[in-house]
Amino acid sequence: MTTSELTGISLFRWAWRQLTSMRTALILLLLLGFAAIPGSLFPQRTQNPMKVNEYFTNNPTLAQWLDRFKLFDVYSSPWFSAIYLLLFISLIGCVLPRTLEHLKAIGAKPPLTPKFLEKMEFATSVAASKASALDQAEKYLRRKRFRIRRDADSISAEKGYSRETGNLLFHLSLILILVGVGIGSLYGSKGEAIVSVGDRFINTPTSYDNLAFGKFQSEGSLTPFELTVTDFKASYDVRTNAPSDYTLSVLAANPVGSKTTAKIIKVNAPLTYKNTKIYLQANGYSPLVTVRDKSGKITYQGGVVFLPQDGNLTSSGAIKLPDMNPQIGFVASFVPTYDRSNKRGAFSAYPEVLDPRLLVSVWTGNLGLDSGRPQSVYRVDTSKMSRIGLAQLKLHETYKFSEGSITFEGWKPWVNLQIVDDPGKIYALFGAIFAILGLLLSLFTRQRRIWIKVGEGVQIAGLAKNAAPGLEKEIADLKSKLEEKL
């Protein structure tokens, strides 16, 4: 063996000892707490990509620097991952040897009785018969379920091993939770889709508005269910306008084409197919319109999904007609219950449809759909267009402009479904349950030793781990038991 190898190994040993030391673990633990803070101060891509874009528009230079340090993706950033991975390596390096040690200790007898009991805590001499004291003490301690080492002139008894059992269980469970999180992100999928009442959703990648797969998850692995939205009811509190209930009725089949069954989906009650769950996440309105060209021929008829802008579902959206000549775009708002103020213009006063209006501004020119740049379906790029009309329509009203007309025919509700496949969460759940059990066991078990020695006289002493209270009373109890038998 050469010296360089030696130093290599010893360097590794040294690093390992440092990493698995309690002080390092403590520093890493606190560091993890601090590292989590920026994620709550800056908008995060995984939660709110729109806010991140907004941040980039408002503070371009600062945002660039923040982005370099991954401050918009804190929880998947290299530095955050480094901290928790080091912490978990440190934890494993600490817990595994202790687990082996603990398993050995469970099989073994308690350690030898110390030589000089009078130096120990709670040391007291007992006026008991030397001949029978050890027998009586053993009987007493066995009944109290102590582990006992009986030697010629002494007893060493210990109780509360489950403190360490709980402690180890807790830490091993944390590893199980991490494994669960890992499985979920590698083998899971998560996506969203807007489905209008009356429409059918088939669980294939193309049906989604957005869909993300884990690294080891393929497109073919989606649960092959289908569902048709038959009804959506939202009710609101008339005093506060806050929603009080959402009920989504669907006809569902798994796999596609099998017999359908009627199901109800609510906010706290998703529809479940094994690891896949279908959640009701948001809702809004699609106004129904008919657009005609100058000759009166229908160029568009149907619903258009509008996005809610406030709690009362004032919604905005776009209707684009690239096939009309010239191209026509409507920048529009749908107001379910019309009200108006000088400051805000038209707005919705209540989230249910009681007195609806469709507000449109009509634009003509180039919609810019051929430019190749992706465009939001909720917005019209009016940079190469000019406005040719403005109208506020009541139900069934028609607005005529120079290139044609638009009729407000009605509305239908839509829902946003979130479809999540997380095969790892069951591990995380078991990890969490074991963690709590372990924690309770370790924090509420008192570990203590009691020694009895027969020499000049009979002596008792004890030791309570972490200064757990109650040992004094236990020793006094044992003492009086031994003395009463005198």
């Binding site: 707490g33 709550s40 309770l440 924090l443």
Partner: protein, 297 residues
């Protein structure tokens, strides 16, 4: 009785509790100020008289606690649900839990010296609740309609009450420790307080006792989030800060049990951990973004 009647009754009960807390506050203030007045050692210290004031304070806090219990209860009855739907309701329940923790500790550990800070803290909480945070009693939004509401929020509120109590004790420890380290005698108002060692142990016991409950509150929240929002953990600001609080208290427990921190260092760490909880409750609820925005503000 109708919902509106219950809502009125709840408000009256909370107002009455506030009056009683105010009396308790003055009683405890008299108890303390009588001792503080004697800076010079020559003046005699009329212990019997302050003791009576202190006892009146304790009695008033107990009465106030009963009224606050009724206030919380009626609020729940008026809305036909657990009274944890918005920040006003969190606050009155939080004040209830905090007082409850204090009263239990008072019976067990002779903590009457905490009466003044406790009554101030509760008065401030209730005052803000009534003036700034008040919202009419209303049904829950759909996301909150779950049995987990009762489980998750009660665990979080109780943990919070005990964490804050542990914080009060750690703060007292630090104040008294600064006297002792300068070699000064304790101020008169503190002569009746337990030894530094006992305070140190007490704040540790409270944290160790309630840490599993806080862990449970976080896990219950995760289970609920899984059924309401489609993921059990999403680093929502409130979740993040709950995690930070958890990590901070975990560090505190390790520092004490494994590394053997005691006294001043441990007390500072305890204060830090408790302040992450307060930050979460106040800042994230009112100014924060994310999905835990039920404050109604």
């Amino acid at each position: 009785m109708t919902s509106t009647n219950y809502a009125y009754l709840s408000n009256y009960a909370v107002y009455s509790a506030m009056v009683l807390y105010t009396i308790a506050f003055f009683a405890h203030a008299i108890e303390v100020s009588f001792s503080v007045r004697n800076v010079e050692a020559e003046t005699k210290f009329d212990f019997g008289r302050t003791d009576r004031a202190g006892r009146i304070g304790s009695a008033m806090i107990f009465l106030a606690f009963i009224f606050l219990t009724l206030g919380v209860l009626f609020r729940g009855l008026s809305a036909h649900r657990v009274p944890w739907g918005n920040m006003y309701e969190f606050s009155i329940t939080g004040a209830f839990a905090f007082t409850g923790a204090y009263l239990i500790a008072l019976k067990k550990y002779k903590l009457r010296w905490l009466g003044l800070p406790v009554s101030i803290a509760v008065l401030l909480t209730l005052g803000t609740a009534i003036t700034v945070l008040y919202r009419p009693s209303a049904p829950l939004v759909p996301a909150l309609k779950s049995t987990w509401l009762a489980i998750h929020v009660s665990a979080a509120i109780i943990s919070g009450g005990v964490f804050l109590l542990a914080n009060c004790i750690a703060a007292t420890y630090l104040i008294l420790d600064s006297y002792e380290s300068k070699g000064l005698p304790r101020p008169r108002w503190a002569t009746n307080l337990p030894t530094l060692d006992a305070l140190d142990q007490l704040s540790y016991r409270l944290v160790a006792f309630v840490f599993p409950l806080w862990t449970f509150a976080v896990i219950a929240g995760a289970i609920w989030a899984e059924s309401a929002w489609g993921r059990y953990w999403g680093w929502d600001p409130k979740e993040t800060w709950a995690f930070i609080t958890w990590v901070a208290y975990a560090a505190y427990l390790h520092a004490r049990v494994t590394v053997g921190w005691r006294g001043r260092k441990a007390a500072w760490l305890c204060l830090f951990a408790g302040s992450t909880f307060l930050f979460n409750y106040i800042y994230i609820n009112i100014w924060g973004t994310g999905r835990h925005t039920y404050s109604g503000l």
